[in-house]
């Protein structure tokens, strides 16, 4: 039986994660426990959700540069409105998701570059977040805190959550007809259009779905940190893009992998811990993080060549 390239696409991120994990266990045997795994990975859960959101946007050939600001905004809503008056909080979130759909429509109708629109939106979300929480504070809703600190038997919450996120998005994106359409818009807009589908609706829906996952990311983050500030998740913009690419996704062509994206997010989080266990000086840490990315992407390049050769055969 020959291994298909899509499997190889998933094998590389999974192998890098396993390798990093082995290295971390070797350096810090204490991590090889229920609590240890949870501490290593719990902050990866919101990153994984943001990565899935970014992956959806990338599936339709766009890029969301407002991801970090939007997750920060959602975190601020969670720590203030959702906690104090849940109905109002849910309404704000619904409004935010609708706003995301509208952004998708505007980008599609006006044929604007998504990078410019979302970069502009990042200032809007950032401003709203500062308005809500001018100084750091707020409080996590009890249920969010309970969810993120719950201790399921045998497998830590962080792992369970990652698997659940990966499986659900895998079924939505890779196994459902909606997912086919989303990826179709990224792969070949014209053929989707000719087949009689409304691309504008698909794009709006994709953006809304991405907004939904970003909202979940904000809630999960506050569940972990117990409170929010307006700049809490600014790093998520680049982390989420890197996570998608690391997990086997492409910038164009509707080539994405939900399971890969979650693995990519876990790998990025683990890379940070790995470097800190290695006692690498902070001046070098950003560089070292970049080096890990380059190594994995180098493997990807190799994979793309393999794929090409397979096609030409």
């Amino acid at each position: 039986m020959r291994i298909s390239t899509s499997t190889i696409r998933l094998v590389i991120p999974a192998a890098s994660l396993a390798l990093l994990l082995a290295a971390v266990f070797y350096m810090q045997p204490r991590a090889m426990s229920y609590t240890g795994l949870n501490l290593l990975f719990n902050l990866a859960v919101p990153i994984a959700l943001a990565t899935v959101a970014q992956m959806l946007i990338m599936a339709v050939n766009d890029l969301d540069l407002s991801m970090g600001a939007f997750v920060s905004f959602c975190a601020c809503v969670t720590a203030t409105f959702l906690q104090a008056s849940p109905t109002l909080g849910v309404l704000i979130f619904l409004g935010a998701i609708v706003a995301y759909a509208v952004i998708g429509v505007v980008i599609h109708v006006r044929e604007l570059p998504s990078i410019v629109v979302t970069l502009g939106m990042s200032f809007v979300w950032g401003g709203l977040a500062v308005l809500m929480l001018p100084s750091p504070g707020g409080e996590a809703p009890g249920w969010a805190r309970w969810l993120m600190t719950s201790r399921p038997p045998f497998v830590p919450m962080a792992i369970v959550a990652s698997i659940v996120i990966a499986l659900i998005t895998h079924f939505v994106i890779m196994r459902s007809s909606v997912g086919v359409l989303i990826r179709g818009v990224g792969g070949n807009v014209r053929s989707v259009e000719r087949a009689g589908w409304s691309v504008i609706r698909i794009r709006a829906g994709t953006y809304a779905l991405a907004g939904f996952f970003a909202v979940l990311s904000g809630i999960a983050l506050v569940g972990l940190t117990t409170s929010a500030d307006a700049n809490i998740a600014l790093r998520y913009t680049l982390l989420s893009i890197a996570g998608v690419i690391l997990g086997g996704g492409e910038f164009v062509g509707g080539k994405v992998s939900p399971i890969g994206a979650v693995i990519g997010a876990l790998t990025l989080t683990l890379a940070g811990s790995f470097l800190s266990f290695m006692r690498i000086s902070p001046d070098w840490q950003i560089g070292a993080q970049g080096a890990i990315l380059i190594v994995v992407l180098g493997l990807r390049l190799l994979l793309n060549r393999l794929e090409k050769r397979e096609k030409s055969r």
């Binding site: 501490l39 290593l40 100084s135 940190t225 700049n231 809490i232 940070g272 006692r279």
Partner: protein
């Protein structure tokens, strides 16, 4: 309840693991510094002080290790991950200069639950299980007016140079100065400008407001702005008022020159970057089983006419006057809080 539980736990650990000698109780303990930013001279001095004092402590076997960690980017999520890594690395105490007062609370709680002592300083965290070594900026502002009231009993007009607008430190120092003026009504603030804690900005701002002001007897400042104010007064050919300084090297040099020339008198006050070493000793004391209040206050580093030369000699060019704290200093701070 939590405090008692934690103290009980640390005492229990100390009893099991520690040798009998009173001072050596913490010789097997490992302390980590979690720092969110290293990009300015104050933070660099802070890390250097930590290095110097903790290396001595380690070589004297007071603690087993005291490793500093700085996050690559000044982001709360990254620092939270860093703290969780420290839990895994098995540190007994974590000393934190936090990127956010609240966003690290989840990670800090995890650390407390793992039986780790958490001490925050400068950038403090609000999680109740952690210790806080806070700076009383309000008292710092008030002390300036108190000094002036002693030196100039007749009072007079004050010019206030404020810091960066919208930052809590600026508000607190300003509130302290206002409280001081209320207590000493012989002083009147006739003008206020924002100097952004930078000499060039302060100089421009003071030069701009000076022509509209009556005679100024003294200038109250927030640090990093005294030298610029002095330059502005000189450029406008106005008599130099008493300018309160903020421990920066250029300010102290200027003060020294004036002192030698015409016996100029003032004082200088700011927070020493060596406060990291105070946090280190507080953490060591807590590990030692001492009862320590959750909220401690950092003493300011004040320079007066008498000790100007010694402080200036110990300050690096372009740096900030610094002081490293000893175990005895920490014990004093701890007992003062009781």
């Amino acid at each position: 309840m939590i405090i008692r539980k934690m103290l009980f736990a640390s005492v229990a650990i100390a009893c099991v693991a520690g040798p009998v000698s009173a001072l050596a109780d913490t010789s097997g303990k490992k302390i980590a510094l979690s720092n969110n930013y290293a990009g300015n001279s104050w933070r660099q001095a802070m890390l250097t002080s930590w290095d110097k004092i903790t290396k001595q402590a380690v070589s004297k076997k007071i603690v087993a290790a005291a490793d500093p960690f700085t996050t690559a980017e000044n982001q709360a999520t990254e620092q939270a991950a860093q703290i969780q890594n420290m839990i895994l690395q098995g540190y007994d105490a974590i000393v934190i200069n936090a990127a956010s007062p609240t966003a690290l609370n989840g990670a800090v709680k995890e650390a407390c639950n793992a039986g780790i002592t958490v001490v925050s300083f400068d950038g403090i965290v609000t999680e109740p299980c952690a210790w806080r070594i806070a700076v009383d900026f309000k008292a710092m502002g008030e002390s300036q007016v108190e000094y002036l009231a002693k030196k100039l009993p007749k009072g007079g007009n004050l010019l206030e140079i404020r810091g960066l607008a919208g930052v809590s430190v600026d508000d607190e120092i300003h509130a302290g100065i206002q409280a001081g003026v209320q207590k000493n009504p012989q002083f009147k603030i006739v003008g206020a400008v924002n100097g952004d804690w930078a000499q060039d900005v302060a100089q421009r701002a003071v030069a701009g407001i000076l022509p509209s002001l009556p005679e100024i007897t003294a200038v109250v400042t927030q640090g990093g702005d005294g030298y610029g104010a002095a330059q502005a007064f000189a450029a406008a050919n106005r008599p130099t008022p008493t300018i309160v300084m903020g421990n920066r090297e250029d300010e102290l040099v200027w003060w020294k020159q004036q002192k030698d020339k015409n016996g100029y008198e003032t004082m200088s006050v700011s927070i020493a970057p060596g406060v990291s070493t105070l946090a280190f000793w507080v953490a060591q004391q807590i590990l030692d089983g001492k009862q320590v209040k959750k909220d401690l206050v950092v003493p300011f580093l004040r320079i007066d006419q008498g000790n100007l030369e010694t402080n200036l000699a110990g300050t690096q060019k372009g740096g900030v006057a610094n002081v490293e704290y000893s175990l005895e200093d920490a014990q004093k701070v701890i007992s003062a809080a009781k």
